[in-house]
Amino acid sequence: MQNAKDTFYVTLRDRLAAVNPARTMVLRGVTRPGVLVEENELASAYQPVDAFCLRWTGSRLDMRGVLPLIAMDCEIRYGSDGNAGNGGMDRGRLLAAMDAELVAAVGAAPQSAAKMNYTGAAPVALGTRVFWGDVAFGAATVNGERLERVATVEVFCYQEAGEL
């Protein structure tokens, strides 16, 4: 399951960076693409604004096939305060731009990637693929001056023999 989560994150990160290379964030002094996995960062890390924050929530197991099929829910949280120079009046536009980037990254063909194991010095391709559905957008919510949204993507993978 962890390999599928890592593969989905790396694929989404690379696709989002290709869609909008300017969407970056600074985390612990390093500039990187504006997407992170919440559970992979320090517990004290604040949620960055104008960046995508992935949170893995539910998971389900289907044992009917040859290999166990796992379905996982990935929440993608993001928000925008708008530009200070515009008095924040463009926060709706900036949130819509993030919606469009997410659709482009998640919905780009193929909606799958070869499952990789990233625990070694170099990533190793496994025998199956990770695949995912379309983005389901939650309602935009107002949190003070910030406009926020939670989108959900269902990610599927096969549990291979010997895989943790």
Binding site: Y9, V10, L27, T31, V37, Y118
Partner: protein
Amino acid sequence: MADLLSASGAAVRAADVLLRCAGGRAVMLRMPAPASAADVAEQLGSAVPGFQDVELAPVAFRAARARVAEGKAARWELLVSASAVEALVGSLGYSAAAVLFAEAFGVLVDGVLMTVESTTESQIGGAPYVYRLMLRAPIAAAV
């Protein structure tokens, strides 16, 4: 203008004296080392960053105002000298105190690592003279 600068300097010195007299002590601020650029292992949570403990003194740890509820982690208040914070901001190369506390992993008080929940500052003439940190004890320490 000179009066304002003099007043803010006096407030910083007065705050330092008050913190030292009101049980002034030292705590450690735990800072994560800068991330490694393009290191996918850190982004995947499989590589742990290094940490550096730096001393914050004088501070007052306000146990008297702890808010405790059953099953919830206790919250504490830490008053920190602005002169100590300014020295750290300068020596560690941060742009502002807010960035320093936002980047901090926690505050080590008597061997217990507490999370910084929020930071406020008291100012005079636009210059801070004391910082107030709300700290949360680890959930494992909740009763």
